[in-house]
Symmetry: C2
Subunit: 299 residues, 2 copies
Amino acid sequence: MNKTVIINEVGPRDGLQSQDGELSLEERQRFVQALLDAGLKHIEIGSFVSPKAVPQMAGTDELAKALQTPDGAELSALVPNMKGYERAQVAGVGTVAVVVSATETMNQKNINMSLDDTMRVAREIIARGKQDGLAVQAYLAVAFECPFEGPVSQAVVTELAAQLLEAGADLLVIADTIGAANPAQVKALMGSLVLGHGSARLACHFHDTRALGLANVFAAIESGVRRFDASTGGLGGCPFAPGAKGNVATEDVVMLCEQMGYTTGIKMPELLDVVDLIGGMLGRPQGGRAHYWLRSQAA
Amino acid sequence: MNKTVIINEVGPRDGLQSQDGELSLEERQRFVQALLDAGLKHIEIGSFVSPKAVPQMAGTDELAKALQTPDGAELSALVPNMKGYERAQVAGVGTVAVVVSATETMNQKNINMSLDDTMRVAREIIARGKQDGLAVQAYLAVAFECPFEGPVSQAVVTELAAQLLEAGADLLVIADTIGAANPAQVKALMGSLVLGHGSARLACHFHDTRALGLANVFAAIESGVRRFDASTGGLGGCPFAPGAKGNVATEDVVMLCEQMGYTTGIKMPELLDVVDLIGGMLGRPQGGRAHYWLRSQAA
């Protein structure tokens, strides 16, 4: 059994995009560098969206150029469409992430496109990535529950997942965008997807809205999933989804995995320092339970 | 598969005993009555310990006499020894709980007795309960990790569990007293115990110290366990601080179970009102994540 868990840090994107106010490019660069120094090898550094719509992500081009990616690290950026893809490519980003919401209404609300159109754009970006030598991660958002349409059927998610993997996505990330999943659902869905496609190209993205984040991570591990999005300090939320709280905290997921005997390659003391660093930059303390608990042990 | 989960509310005992200051008997009675009104049928109302050692639990005799136990409800009290048992019996308590810690040092520190002596007392109380027609619940404390001796081996717990069940305990509660268990351990231990003894006489008691409480509840449910201790509002720690050391919150466990399709018989709106009630009595807001989330949905 594979005892290595990959953590993809999404704090610099999913975390920062929902904050009031913007960090400077220098601060964002320092944040990503600190994450690399803490042993995180997979980091979503930002997104190539309109700076008017999401000012927190303005200048991701310059950030990508400024960052020195160490060997073996994977820095990714979210792109909403082909224009964003091209900006990412020019900036030298090696991995892009595209998002398809599993429901019609969420696609309309999120990017004013139909589900069919979003799927078409995702397929085009995946194909283009293959030509250009860029890796493409496909996110399937609101994969358990949609804030507008309610519960999402496993059959719908299974079909969209198969289409995205068949289109050649290098990774498929099943995202509980609003933190509504429960571990029984996670086990049923992820168990079925791992059975159908193997786990190498699957990942999960959980929010901790109802305190079920770590239970869901455990359920996914039980199902064979070995890659998770997380954000340092539990930073973030989803600005377009009412009720979404932060991602599961990176330090909480690392603690859970390491305590169960899995290896993440992440250095906890350094990671706890990053929690303090980003809390200082934002002027608001950040930190999941592991942060509090481990700090209290050290005191 | 059994889709009913029993919640044993321990807020009036495990929750209140760790609070600064004491509630009046009238307040404790109002707390228990509100829990009964919210549909909780299993409630640990207090303990028969020395009022000098634990002033928060003074007067449990009068509390037990004052409470009107509805048909079908089970009110229990913790007894540290035969003297406590006899006080409970005189007060008309129908179910008592005895505690054996799984390590030598914890027994010494907790009640100044050896593990052998604690086991002997537990067996005597179980036997006495059978004579008197009282139900006896046996707690196996620090069943995953001891604050003094560190990790506790599954073999030791398995052996002590078998002895307590063979002695005739009506229920065996495996307790992660310091909130150190991880869900992989829980699944391994509880899976083995359910296999050996069935699940009818097994329960789990988790603390949320490292935010793994709900993941551990899920892992135990997966193992076949259908009974859990929990405390309303996560009482016993500070639920709004990231380092809460309280029991898993009753409202969080109910939410988890109900969302996975299990029935608990507990009325959530009334339960959330009990969270506010006890927070008001203590002068400190209480409440797990479900409380926060469900209240925010209602707003």
